[in-house]
């Protein structure tokens, strides 16, 4: 069988989505860690695989795949192992709707806050000239803007406030949705849950007043249920930074 290689950063957000999908499917893959904080994703070796300079990317034999959510669907379709999409067409629609809503509306808001409090402060310690040269190597112009904002801490108050509004609203929406059924988008565990867990696993820690056993019991029930899966344990063990160790908050009996 053709070799699978995944180029990924931490088991978190876009990188974590295909990582966990491969592990749930039981697909053996070569893990190629791209250190985002060292700008590995903009080095020529990686740009040869994904010219956009974003992570993740996956190769399967001679095929190169990008776009984390589309990769998840590919992995589910191309390999045997547990089925991660529901059978019913309306359930499948709901899976896709939620993944897009998370990818394009909710995750960017989490991400902006994460970059302002986590990524920016770490990277900013380095030599300014070296950082400026690193930014100049970023292929996508919109990413250059994002990195500059993170490094110089120049997010506007209005954009951070809008992200906070979306995070609070998104937590409520997830809570309500998970009150309707066991898993996020259908009655079976699958891609929407994998996607959602990557977005939400650390919310009880980062937003303790919005997400706790009292306020969001369904969200926590679901986070714990996903966390209990062997594939999740295996996947999060690949993390190297303190950021992903936040998942341990889910060990708590009362959050």
């Amino acid at each position: 069988m053709a070799q699978v290689t995944l180029y990924h950063w931490e088991p978190n957000a876009n990188s974590g989505k295909p990582m966990l999908t491969l592990m749930e499917k039981g697909v053996e893959f070569e893990s190629h860690y791209i250190d985002m904080l060292q700008f590995d994703q903009h080095r020529p070796e990686y740009l040869a695989i994904n010219p956009q300079g974003t992570i993740p990317a996956m190769t399967h034999g001679s095929r190169v795949l990008v776009e984390s959510t589309a990769i998840m669907e590919y992995v589910n379709e191309a390999f045997s192992g547990p089925e991660l999409m529901p059978k019913d067409a309306r359930d499948r629609w709901r899976v896709r709707w939620w993944m897009k809503f998370m990818d394009q509306w909710l995750a960017p808001s989490f991400s902006m806050i994460g970059w302002s409090v986590f990524v920016g402060p770490i990277v900013r310690q380095r030599d300014p000239a070296e950082l400026e040269a690193a930014i100049e190597r970023i292929p996508l112009p919109e990413r250059r803007v994002s990195w500059r904002k993170a490094i110089h801490g120049t997010f506007s108050e209005a954009e951070i406030a809008e992200s906070q509004r979306r995070v609070a609203l998104g937590i409520n929406m997830l809570e309500q949705e998970l009150g309707k059924r066991e898993w996020l988008a259908s009655d079976t565990y699958g891609l929407a849950d994998i996607n959602g867990f990557n977005l939400a696993y650390a919310i009880p820690l980062s937003q303790p007043s919005l997400c706790n056993d009292e306020k969001t019991p369904n969200l926590l029930r679901w986070l714990r249920a996903v966390y209990a899966r062997p594939a999740v344990k295996k996947c999060w063990a690949l993390g190297r930074t303190d950021m992903v160790k936040r998942v341990a908050v889910l060990d708590g009996e009362q959050i």
Binding site: H60, R63, L65, V66, E67, T69, A70, I71, E73, Y74, E77, A78, A89, R90, R92, W93, R96, W97, K100, F101, Q104, W105, P108, S109, S111, M112, E142, R143, S146, E159, E162, S163, R165, R166, M173, Q176, E177
Partner: protein, 260 residues
Amino acid sequence: MAMILYHGAPNGPSLIVLAALAETGVDVERRPIDLLAGERHVLPGIGEAVALDMGIEGEGPVLVVDGEAMTDAVFLAQYFDELSDKASLQPSDPYAHWEMMMWCRQITERLSPAAALLGNIEFSQETLGAMSDERFEELAGRIVSADLRSRWEILRDGAVDLAQIVDSRTKVLQAVERCEKQLGDGRKWLMGELTIADLATFAWLAGMERVLPESFRDKPLTTAWLQRVRSRPAVASVLADCGADVATFWAPGPEINRWG
């Protein structure tokens, strides 16, 4: 199971869904609504409104099944395709399917916000500007999503950011260039066979021929492909149904990416 499709004139997201419906032959009751009059926000009999209220596509069609409002044109097209045993608008090979999904995602993420912004400025701003304050406030007050509401307000006030307009023109041109490159090997459809990628790309690009003709200059393959999609019987019948000048129908669409 009765299905009701509320849709606008066949342009942008409504065109994607109407074309997919015509190609697949799924049986649905069609109810045309005026998206620019905010009619999407007062639909009857919705028990499950999450997707209606919070869909990030903006003013697109809504399919109601068992009281659940379903939105997002590409996903509705997939839904029809998966219900139907007639057409197959999605490749069955996983890699070809990935290519189609990736293409559609990049179209909806990059081209559609840009095209919606430019189309709305050109064709909808005046209508909204002419609305009485009272009527507009009533309309806007019914929009649940605060960020969608603010896109309506910005458009009405003519307060669109110039940088976004410039960027949107670039995004449209990039999409045309992408199509030209994709069609470079002489293929008939974007993915080889006809798929949802053709319907989605056509639906957002066709209206841009009027707004940004210079983006299509020296792009013979894309121009011929647009014509090929336009003259498919299913697409042609949907366009003819409307009668009016379809490319002039716009209503606030997805937001321009706000992060990265």
